[in-house]
């Protein structure tokens, strides 16, 4: 199912396991699907110069980001035989250990979902204007850069 208008991909705060579980549950009625694949981005408690990251505070150029998510979605539907696709990204504070990105792809066949998921996640990392402030336990911060 393709949408013409960009959806809002962003959710305030962490993406809960209830929300993720419920998304899986909702696909039980779509019986043409034979394979799902899920990517969950989790905030890592990196140690940098002896200080531990306790959370990431996400901000975004929201209009452009939603348009980029939409473009990635359209191009993934063109490239791969997908039944459906869902992307959710956090804004605001997400603590270490919590989920900040949830990408969910579904297809009749398994091979497609492995390739599609990697394509989508890499495109998000490279091309969507989301910014992350890594907050340390002592409340100082540094800015995250995707490698």
């Amino acid at each position: 199912m393709q949408d013409k208008k960009p959806k809002n991909v962003f959710r305030e705060g962490a993406i809960s396991s209830d929300f993720i579980g419920n998304s899986i549950y909702k696909h039980q009625t779509k019986t043409s699907i034979g394979a799902h694949n899920i990517f969950l981005g989790q905030v890592r408690a990196d140690e940098i110069d002896g200080k531990i990251v306790s959370a990431i505070e996400y901000t975004a150029y929201e209009d452009m980001a939603n348009q980029k998510f939409h473009d990635i979605r359209e191009s993934a539907f063109e490239k791969f035989e997908l039944t459906c696709m869902h992307i959710y990204h956090s804004l605001g504070t997400v603590k270490a250990g919590e989920i900040c990105l949830f990408v969910f792809v579904s297809s009749p066949r398994r091979k497609v979902v492995f390739e599609a998921l990697e394509y989508i996640v890499e495109a998000i990392k490279a091309g969507v204007p989301v910014f992350g402030k890594e907050i340390f336990e002592d409340e100082t911060h540094q800015w995250k850069v995707n490698s």
């Binding site: 150029y61 091309g127 910014f131």
Partner: protein, 77 residues
């Protein structure tokens, strides 16, 4: 020409604001950057890309849009 400039992440820390409107005569992005460098100490040493009307543009380009954004490195996911 009146343009809106948006700042994000560590760029907004340097400018101490998230958005402003500027009346400019210059029409090239490099001229606009010179203006911003003189206005904000420390901006020149930052790594960033520029978006015009929500599309990334080259620093050598012309200003054609009403909304310019200065975007620090992306960190989604």
């Amino acid at each position: 020409m009146l343009i809106t400039i948006k700042y994000f992440g560590q760029i907004a820390e340097v400018t101490a604001k998230q958005e402003e409107q500027i009346e400019i005569e210059e029409t090239s992005i490099s001229k606009l950057l010179e203006l911003l460098y003189s206005k904000y100490d420390g901006l020149k040493s930052k790594d960033f890309q520029i978006a015009q009307n929500q599309e990334l543009v080259s620093l050598e380009g012309e200003i054609t849009g009403a909304e310019i954004a200065i975007l620090p490195p992306f960190a989604g996911g």
